[in-house]
C-alpha cells in the first residue's frame, strides 16, 4: 500500500467518468476519491452529457461505459480521441469480452476495466493506464495478432523498410511485441512475461499500449483498404 508521503510530488491523476449505472458510478467515484493521487474531474450519465463534458478541460483518464441510454459509448471514445488527445481512455465492461474490447481499442481506447473488479484493482488499473500501461487478455491478444496478420497480408507489398514506418502507412508489430502477445495467448501473466523477457512488468504493459495504438492505425488502414476494395474510395 503506497503511503501518501510517497506520491505528493506527482500531480494528481484527473479522472472523468461516463457511466449510466449509478451503483457502479458511486463505487468508482468513491474509489477514486479515496485514492490520494487521484482526483475526480467530472462525471456524465449519458452519451450527450459525455460529449458535452469533452468541451471542458481534459482529464488524464476517461472511463467510458459502452451501453449508454442514449447511444453508444464508442461515440464518446471517438470524440475524446479528437478533443482530449492526451487523455487515456478506458472502457468499463462487465465481461471484458472480445467484441466490446476490440471495438473500443480500435476506436481509440487504451484499456478496459472489469466492472466486478475490487476497488483496489480498479485504482491499480487506472494508475497503470495513466502512466502509459495497458491491460490485455489472452483472447484479445490472439485477436490482435490475427488483426496484424490480416493487415500484413493485405498490405505486405507496400510494407515500408523498418525504421521508416510512418503512422499513416502500415503499422507492423515488432518481434518483441509479438513475443509478448504470444506469451499472453499461452496464459502467462505480465509478471511472468517480464521475467521471461527480462523486462519490468510495467514495460510489458507499455508494450501492450504501443500495440493498441498500432492496432488503431492498422484498423484505420484496413478500413481504407476495405473501402477501396468495395469501391467507396478512389485508389
Amino acid at each position: 500500500m503506497p503511503s501518501i508521503s510517497d506520491i505528493p510530488a506527482l500531480p494528481a491523476i484527473h479522472v472523468a467518468i461516463v457511466e449510466d449505472d449509478p451503483g457502479f458510478r458511486d463505487a468508482l467515484s468513491k474509489a477514486v476519491q479515496a485514492s490520494p493521487d487521484m482526483q475526480l474531474a467530472s462525471m456524465a450519465g449519458t452519451r450527450a452529457e459525455g460529449l458535452a463534458m469533452l468541451q471542458g478541460p481534459p482529464a488524464d483518464v476517461l472511463l467510458v461505459d459502452l451501453g449508454l441510454p442514449d447511444g453508444s459509448g464508442i461515440d464518446v471514445i471517438v470524440a475524446a480521441v479528437a478533443q482530449w488527445p492526451s487523455c487515456n481512455i478506458m472502457v468499463s465492461t462487465t465481461f471484458g469480452d472480445e467484441t466490446h474490447v476490440m471495438r473500443s481499442i480500435e476506436a481509440g481506447a487504451a484499456g478496459y476495466l472489469l466492472k466486478d473488479s475490487s476497488p483496489a484493482k480498479m485504482i491499480d488499473e487506472i494508475r497503470s493506464l495513466a502512466s502509459g500501461g495497458s491491460p490485455i487478455s489472452p483472447i484479445i491478444a490472439r485477436q490482435v495478432l490475427a488483426r496484424f496478420r490480416g493487415a500484413a497480408a493485405t498490405t505486405a507489398p507496400a510494407a515500408p523498410a523498418p525504421g521508416t514506418a510512418s503512422a499513416d502507412q502500415v503499422a507492423i508489430l515488432s518481434v518483441r511485441e509479438k513475443e509478448v502477445l504470444d506469451y499472453i495467448t499461452r496464459g502467462f501473466t505480465a509478471q511472468e512475461i517480464a521475467k521471461l523477457m527480462q523486462l519490468s512488468p510495467f514495460t510489458v504493459r507499455t508494450f501492450v499500449r504501443r500495440i493498441y495504438s498500432k492496432l488503431k492505425v492498422t484498423s484505420k488502414t484496413e478500413a481504407i483498404y476495405e473501402a477501396r476494395t468495395l469501391g467507396l474510395l478512389p485508389d
Binding site: E98, D116, P138, I139, T185, G187
Partner: protein, 652 residues
C-alpha cells in the same frame, strides 16, 4: 470498330477471291482484239457421197477436181441429208465386209487470209467413221482412224495447216468422211486463221464442253468419297451412302464425255448406256424419302425399265447391240431415259408440292437435267445443227448442285441447331445454378436455424443447471436470513464467474486448447491475487483440437475450474501447478493440475454425496470423449484431464 473492320476484311477477301477467278477465266478465253480480221469463217460447202466396202486409208494427195462432179451445195453448219445406198445390200453381205459410205465435203476458202501459220478450227464433225482433211489437196489432218471415239463429239476440231513450198495461198479444204451408210454426217462451220485469233474461241468451247464438266464430275466424285467416309463412321445414316452411290454412278455415267476410247460393245459401253437410268432410279428413291409418297407404280415402272435395259444390253448377251451402231440405238435409249426423267420429275413435283421443299428442289434439278439430256438427244438426232452444245455433260453438275445444296442445308441447319442447343444448354445450366443456389441457401438457413436452436438449448440447460440454481440458492439465503452478506456476495460472485465462463466458452479460441486454458487463468487470476497460493503455469504448445467449439469448450472450462475450485475450497495447498502434455502416440492431449495439499480418498469422495463435483467432471469429460483421473496421497493430489485429438463423432 472491331466488328466493322472484320466485316470489311471478309468482304475484301470475298471480292478478291471472286475477282481472281473471273480474271483467270477472262484470260483463258480472251480473243485477240483483231480476232475477227485475222480469221476467216467458212460457211459454204459442197459435198458428195460414194459407197463402197470396208474402210480404207486416205491417199496423201487428193484434189477435188479428181472427184466426180456431182457436188451438192450445203450451208454450214449442216447435217447432210441421208441418200439411199447406191449399192445393193445382198452383195455387201456376201462380201462379208460392211458397207461404208465415203462423203466428200469441199469447203472453198475465199477471202483475205492473214499472214503466218494458219490453223483450222471447227466445233465438230459428227460421224461414226474416219475423218481426213486435205488442204489444197494435200492430206493435212486425220482423226477417228479406227472409227468414232467416245469423246469425239465433244472434242473440237483444231489443227495446224502446214505451209508447203510453192503451194500458194490456201484455196480449198477437202474433208473425207467414211461412215456407215445409215448414219448421217454433220459438219459445223469452219474457221481458218492464226492460232492467236482462234485460240479464245477454241479454248472456250473446249473448256465449257469438256473441261468444266469433267472438273465438276471429279469434284462430285471427291465429295461422294467424303460422304462415304462420313458413312463409315455413321452407318445408320443411309443418305451418306446414297450420296456416294449417286456420285459413283454419275461419275461412271459421264466418263464417256472425256475418254478417247473407240466405241465398241463392251462393259464400258454397257455402263455408259445404262448409268443414266440407274441415276434416275436412285434419284427417284431419294425423292420418295423426301416427299414420303410411295408412288408404287412409277417405282415399279422405273425399276422394271432400268432392269430390262440393263439386262438386255449386257455385252455377253448381246441382245441389244447398242454399240457401235450408236446412231440407231443411242437416240432410242436417250428417248427412253428422257421419258423416264420427265415422269420422275412430274410425279416428284406433284408429290413434293407443299410437302417437301427439298423434294421440290430435287425435282427442279431432275427437270433441268432432263432438259439438258434433251439437248443431247436433239444433237444426236440432228434436230438442231451440229454446232450445238452437248449439255448432257452438265447433268452431273446439276445432280452435284442439288445434292450439294441438300447437304449444305443440312450442314447449316446442323450448325444452327448445335448453336441453339448450346444456348439453351447455357440457359438451362443457369436455371439449374439458380435452383441450386436457392436450395443451398435454404439448406444454409436450415443449418443456421438448427445451430441456433442447439445453442439455445445448450445455453438454457447450462443456465438452468448453473446460474439459475445458484441464483435461487442466493435468493433463498437472503429470504431466510441467517446468512451473512459476505456469503450472499460470494454466491453472486460465483454466479458472475459462472456467467463469465459461459461467455468465454463462446469466444473465438480457434480450436486452441491452450488459449482456452489461458482465458480461464486470466479469469481466475483475481482469486489468486489475494491468496498466498502460487500458481505455476507450466504449459507447452498443444496441437489444434478441431472439435473444440463452444459447447465442448464450456465442458472443459468447467472441468478445470471445478478442479481448481476444489483445491481452493478443500485443501490447504499453497502451490498449484498446471501443465499440459501431448500423448506420445499422438492420440490425445492432457491437462494436469497438481497441488501440494493434504490429498483425499478418491474412492470415498466419489461414493459420497460431496462427490457430486467429481461426478460432474467425469460426466463432462465423457461428453467430449475425454476422461478424468485423480491420484492423491498425503503429499498432494494430481488431477488429469485427457482429451482426444480427434473425436469419433462430432458433438451435437
Amino acid at each position: 470498330m472491331k466488328i466493322f473492320s472484320s466485316r470489311l476484311f471478309a468482304n475484301a477477301l470475298l471480292a478478291v477471291s471472286v475477282m481472281l477467278l473471273v480474271a483467270v477465266g477472262a484470260w483463258y478465253v480472251q480473243g485477240d482484239g483483231e480476232a475477227a480480221s485475222a480469221s476467216l469463217h467458212l460457211t459454204q460447202a459442197d459435198w458428195q457421197d460414194a459407197d463402197g466396202h470396208g474402210f480404207s486409208a486416205p491417199v496423201p494427195v487428193m484434189n477435188s477436181h479428181d472427184l466426180p462432179s456431182r457436188w451438192q451445195h450445203a450451208a454450214l453448219p449442216s447435217a447432210l441429208p441421208l441418200a439411199p445406198s447406191l449399192l445393193p445390200s445382198p452383195e455387201s453381205a456376201a462380201a462379208g465386209e460392211k458397207a461404208v459410205r465415203t462423203t466428200w465435203i469441199k469447203v472453198p476458202v475465199t477471202g483475205a487470209l492473214p499472214a503466218g501459220p494458219l490453223v483450222l478450227y471447227g466445233i465438230r464433225i459428227k460421224t461414226d467413221g474416219t475423218v481426213a482433211a486435205y488442204a489444197n489437196g494435200r492430206l493435212a489432218y486425220r482423226t477417228q482412224q479406227r472409227g468414232q471415239l467416245w469423246n469425239s463429239l465433244f472434242t473440237p476440231l483444231w489443227f495446224t495447216l502446214d505451209e508447203h513450198d510453192g503451194a500458194g495461198p490456201l484455196k480449198e479444204i477437202l474433208i473425207r468422211v467414211e461412215h456407215a451408210p445409215e448414219t448421217p454426217v454433220g459438219l459445223s462451220s469452219l474457221w481458218v486463221g492464226t492460232a492467236e485469233a482462234l485460240r479464245g474461241r477454241y479454248y472456250l468451247r473446249q473448256w465449257l464442253q469438256r473441261e468444266l464438266p469433267a472438273t465438276l464430275s471429279a469434284a462430285f466424285m471427291v465429295v461422294g468419297i467424303f460422304a462415304l467416309f462420313v458413312w463409315f463412321r455413321r452407318r445408320h445414316e443411309m443418305r451418306y451412302l446414297l450420296f456416294f452411290n449417286l456420285a459413283a454412278v454419275s461419275f461412271v455415267g459421264h466418263l464417256h464425255y472425256y475418254v478417247s476410247l473407240p466405241i465398241v460393245t463392251d462393259w464400258f459401253a454397257w455402263l455408259t448406256s445404262n448409268a443414266l437410268l440407274w441415276l434416275l432410279t436412285v434419284v427417284h428413291l431419294f425423292l420418295r424419302q423426301l416427299h414420303g409418297r410411295p408412288l408404287t407404280w412409277l417405282t415399279w415402272t422405273l425399276v422394271g425399265v432400268t432392269l430390262v435395259a440393263s439386262v438386255l444390253s449386257i455385252p455377253a448377251l448381246g441382245i441389244l447391240p447398242v454399240y457401235p451402231s450408236t446412231s440407231l440405238l443411242v437416240p432410242f435409249m436417250y428417248a427412253v431415259t428422257v421419258l423416264m426423267g420427265v415422269l420422275v420429275c412430274t410425279m416428284g413435283a406433284k408429290a413434293s408440292w407443299r410437302r417437301s421443299r427439298e423434294g421440290m428442289l430435287l425435282t427442279i434439278g431432275v427437270g433441268v437435267a432432263v432438259l439438258l439430256g434433251m439437248s443431247d438427244w436433239l444433237l444426236h438426232n440432228n434436230v438442231v445443227n451440229p454446232e450445238g452444245w452437248f449439255l448432257g455433260a452438265y447433268t452431273n453438275a446439276v445432280t452435284f448442285a442439288m445434292f450439294g445444296g441438300l447437304m449444305y442445308r443440312r450442314y447449316i441447319d446442323a450448325i444452327t441447331e448445335v448453336e441453339q442447343i448450346n444456348a439453351s444448354l447455357a440457359q438451362r445450366l443457369q436455371a439449374r445454378e439458380a435452383e441450386l443456389e436457392i436450395s443451398h441457401r435454404l439448406l444454409r438457413e436450415a443449418a443456421l436455424r438448427q445451430t441456433i436452436s442447439e445453442e439455445r438449448q445448450r445455453l438454457m440447460q447450462d443456465m438452468h443447471d448453473g446460474l439459475g440454481s445458484s441464483l435461487i440458492s442466493a435468493i433463498r439465503s437472503v429470504e431466510h436470513g441467517g446468512v451473512s452478506d459476505a456469503k450472499v456476495s460470494q454466491i453472486l460472485k460465483d454466479c458472475l464467474d459462472d456467467l463469465k465462463l459461459t461467455i468465454d466458452s463462446m469466444e473465438p479460441v480457434e480450436a486452441d486448447l491452450l488459449l482456452l486454458l489461458a482465458t480461464l487463468r486470466f479469469r481466475l487470476e483475481p482469486r489468486f491475487e489475494g491468496s498466498n497460493i502460487t500458481l505455476v503455469w507450466d504449459v507447452q504448445e498443444l496441437p489444434t483440437l478441431a472439435w473444440l467449439e463452444p459447447s465442448s469448450a464450456l465442458h472443459i472450462l468447467r472441468i478445470v475450474q471445478e478442479s481448481i475450485a476444489n483445491i481452493l475450497r478443500h485443501t490447504r495447498a499453497d502451490r498449484i501447478r498446471v501443465s499440459t502434455a501431448r500423448d506420445e502416440d499422438g492420440g490425445g492431449v492432457s491437462v494436469t493440475i497438481e497441488d501440494n495439499g493434504q490429498g483425499f480418498d478418491i474412492g470415498k469422495a466419489l461414493d459420497s454425496a460431496a462427490g457430486r463435483g467429481l461426478h460432474n467432471q467425469q460426466r463432462r469429460a465423457k461428453a467430449v470423449d475425454g476422461r478424468v483421473s485423480w491420484s492423491s496421497d498425503a503429499g498432494g493430489t494430481r488431477f488429469t484431464l485427457w482429451l482426444p485429438l480427434m473425436r469419433k463423432i462430432a458433438a451435437v
